[in-house]
């Protein structure tokens, strides 16, 4: 378990609230500006940042994150760029990435580079526990948190095995589907969080479909973390200019920060 990550969840618990986790791909809309957007998210109250490694075939992502990834890839965003963004973040930062970029970099090389840039963990949405042997041993050595995603369809037999492979926190996918804002958070989320808690003391964070203060407040009632991604990206895509983008992102972050405090 990574100590910096644990400290954030401990502090949130002391304050009787959930942690707010914000996602933004590195290199979107360009390398320098992605750092400033993340800084605005943190300014507004985001506690933990997921830095996305843009990937050419994001099968778990909806239209908004796909579009951001395409822009980041047009900018030729590299592994070093991702680490540079991680290094620039003032709060604990994880990388969220599909598996192939890690495999291409080499597992040991990737983990060493992330540790050096101050990263606290990695969310791996398409890495199954069956394929994780090398990953688990490399991350253990470097105190890098392993965050796997569990889904409403995870069986009772399988769920404890996936949870057991996690360190840092558990990512509970609120619904069966891809990333992107939804008008309501699926009722399956709470049930899934309760099932996960039977098997672990690790914090459980809920993602997929959360975009508003009201939804954040609702999820914060039963989860330790609320994850928001597409809603931030959409604001950047729609903004008139950079100043407008930074303002809107900060406003949404502060609204969501109120939400996770039950306000």
């Amino acid at each position: 378990m990574n100590k910096k990550l644990q400290a954030v969840f401990d502090q949130a618990k002391l304050e009787n609230r959930a942690a707010l986790i914000g996602y933004m791909p590195a290199g979107f809309p360009n390398l320098e500006f992605s750092k400033r957007i993340i800084a605005a998210m943190v300014d507004g109250g985001v506690d933990i940042v997921e830095v996305g490694f843009p990937y050419s075939d994001p099968v778990m992502d909806g239209a908004v994150i796909q579009q951001a990834a395409e822009i980041a890839l047009q900018n030729k965003t590299s592994l070093q760029d991702v680490f540079e963004v991680v290094n620039s973040v003032d709060v604990p930062a994880l990388v969220m990435t599909y598996w192939n970029p890690i495999e291409r970099a080499g597992v040991a090389n990737f983990v060493a580079g992330l540790a050096k840039s101050g990263g606290v963990g990695v969310i791996t949405p398409d890495l199954t526990i069956e394929e994780s042997a090398e990953w688990i041993s490399a991350t253990k050595e470097n105190e890098i948190g392993r965050v796997y995603v569990v889904a409403p369809s995870s069986s009772d037999e399988r769920l404890p095995k996936v949870v057991d492979a996690c360190s840092g926190f558990v990512y509970a996918a609120s619904l069966m589907g891809v990333t992107g804002a939804r008008t309501a958070v699926s009722g399956a989320a709470q049930q899934l969080v309760e099932r996960v808690r039977k098997h672990t003391n690790l914090p459980v964070a809920v993602g997929l479909g959360v975009s508003t203060r009201e939804q954040a407040a609702q999820v914060a009632q039963y989860a330790d973390g609320v994850i928001v991604g597409s809603a931030f990206i959409k604001l950047v895509l729609e903004a008139a200019d950079e100043k407008d983008a930074l303002e809107r992102v900060k406003v949404l972050a502060s609204e969501l920060a109120q939400g996770v405090r039950g306000k």
């Binding site: 075939d57 099968v59 778990m60 192939n100 890690i102 890495l127 394929e131 369809s153 995870s154 069966m176």
Partner: protein, 396 residues
């Protein structure tokens, strides 16, 4: 020969790299496939469909005039082009459609490049009363407009995919997104031997019938096994289907012909094993066309059905252990063989298949007149008439 096939792995290749949300469905599918393999009722139902609907067994044609250009070797064509819907794809599609019914699902989704797998899926859906949605790259819907119309006539919905390179790879991404969302009601009828376990094994099992029939046919016809078996390789389903029953016949060379596009050295190709490197794409570890950051690189081929930057994991394994060999055939070499077969034998092959025929010209000349070559004639060229007319400057 010792071969490992544990938990969907072929040596270091294969496996499952998918969102957790899909694991339950993959486990359900694996169980259904294993049960069906052992169930005589299922096997009988599939065999009867193949006999009365597909038109199996497919025949062997000796290509004597074509052979004059291939070192006078004996050239035997396994005529999968004569199957209903015009290619080998129907073998897998009928098998998976029957499994879909067994699992109690009522909707199938499929990806398609050239349109052959989409047409076959739409056909099976019509036959068995299933709803069918086909994802097809927008670029491919233009290249293969005739097949789009065929799918619609068969009652399927065709969704043009406008993300990424707008070809097969992006159609697979979109199909996987649909599957994650609708997995309770929907079976993803994947069209090749790629993807997460159990697809590479299951799709191979449904195509093995090609090699099983051909092996016996060649033995009856020639009194011995062929010296080499050749097939084109995109994802690799027709190749693995004809190769697999020959794997233990160590004297039989297995030769896969990949799409070399403008030439592997130009970077504009789809020869994943010849010009790619090990990596993970679409749920499986295999060879991938990728850059230094692990991003998939766009593939290029005149043949929509081979235009894919990945390849089935069992091919990666057969390559690694040296049991099969893989070569790249350029667009020009394929089109030369396309024209040659048409003019010497009166058979217009699919452009995909023409890559295997170009390989036969090479290997026949290497081995000479004593050699027997078995070529999987995986599909017919009706769908490619427009592309070929453009290539050869025939006005339409």
């Amino acid at each position: 020969m010792e071969r490992t096939e544990i938990l969907g792995h072929f040596g270091q290749f294969g496996g499952r790299f998918v969102p957790e949300a899909l694991i339950a469905a993959l486990e359900e599918l694996e169980a259904a496939h294993v049960a069906a393999k052992l169930d005589p009722d299922f096997q009988n139902e599939l065999a009867e469909l193949h006999r009365t609907y597909t038109g199996r067994p497919s025949i062997i044609t000796e290509a004597k005039r074509f052979a004059q250009h291939a070192g006078n070797a004996t050239i035997l064509l396994k005529r999968e082009d004569l199957n209903h819907t015009g290619s080998h794809k129907i073998n897998n599609v009928l098998g998976q459609a029957l499994l879909t019914k067994r699992m109690g699902k009522k909707r199938i989704i499929a990806e398609t490049g050239a349109g052959q797998h989409g047409v076959a899926s739409a056909t099976a859906a019509a036959l068995l009363g299933l709803e069918c949605v086909v994802y097809m790259g927008e670029e491919d819907t233009k290249r293969q407009a005739l097949n789009v119309a065929r799918m619609k006539l068969l009652g399927a919905s065709v969704v043009p995919v406008t993300t990424g390179s707008r070809t097969l790879k992006d159609a697979i991404n979109e199909a996987m997104r649909d599957w994650v969302t609708n997995v309770e009601s929907t079976h993803y009828l994947l069209g090749t031997v790629a993807g997460p376990h159990p697809f590479p094994t299951m799709v191979r099992d449904f195509h093995r019938i090609i090699g099983v029939e051909a092996r016996e046919q060649v033995l009856n016809l020639m009194g011995r096994l062929p010296d080499a078996v050749l097939a084109c390789v995109g994802g690799g389903s027709n190749a693995i289907g004809i190769f697999h029953p020959f794997i233990d016949d160590v004297g039989v060379r297995l030769i896969g012909l990949e799409a070399g596009g403008s030439g592997v050295e130009t970077g504009k190709h789809a020869a994943t094993i010849v010009g790619g490197s090990p990596g993970v794409l679409h749920g499986t570890r295999s060879y991938v066309l990728q850059d230094e950051n692990g991003q998939t690189v766009e593939s290029h081929s005149i043949s929509a059905g081979l235009d894919y930057p990945g390849v089935g994991p069992e091919h990666a394994y057969l390559h690694e252990i040296g049991r099969a060999e893989y070569r790249a055939i350029t667009d020009d070499q394929a089109m030369h063989a396309f024209a040659l077969l048409s003019k010497t034998e009166g058979i217009i092959p699919a452009i995909e298949t023409a890559h295997a025929l170009a390989g036969a010209l090479q290997v026949g000349n290497e081995l000479g007149s004593e050699a027997i070559l078995l070529i999987n004639l995986s599909g017919r060229g009706d769908k490619d008439v427009k592309t070929a007319a453009n290539y050869f400057g025939i006005p339409l």
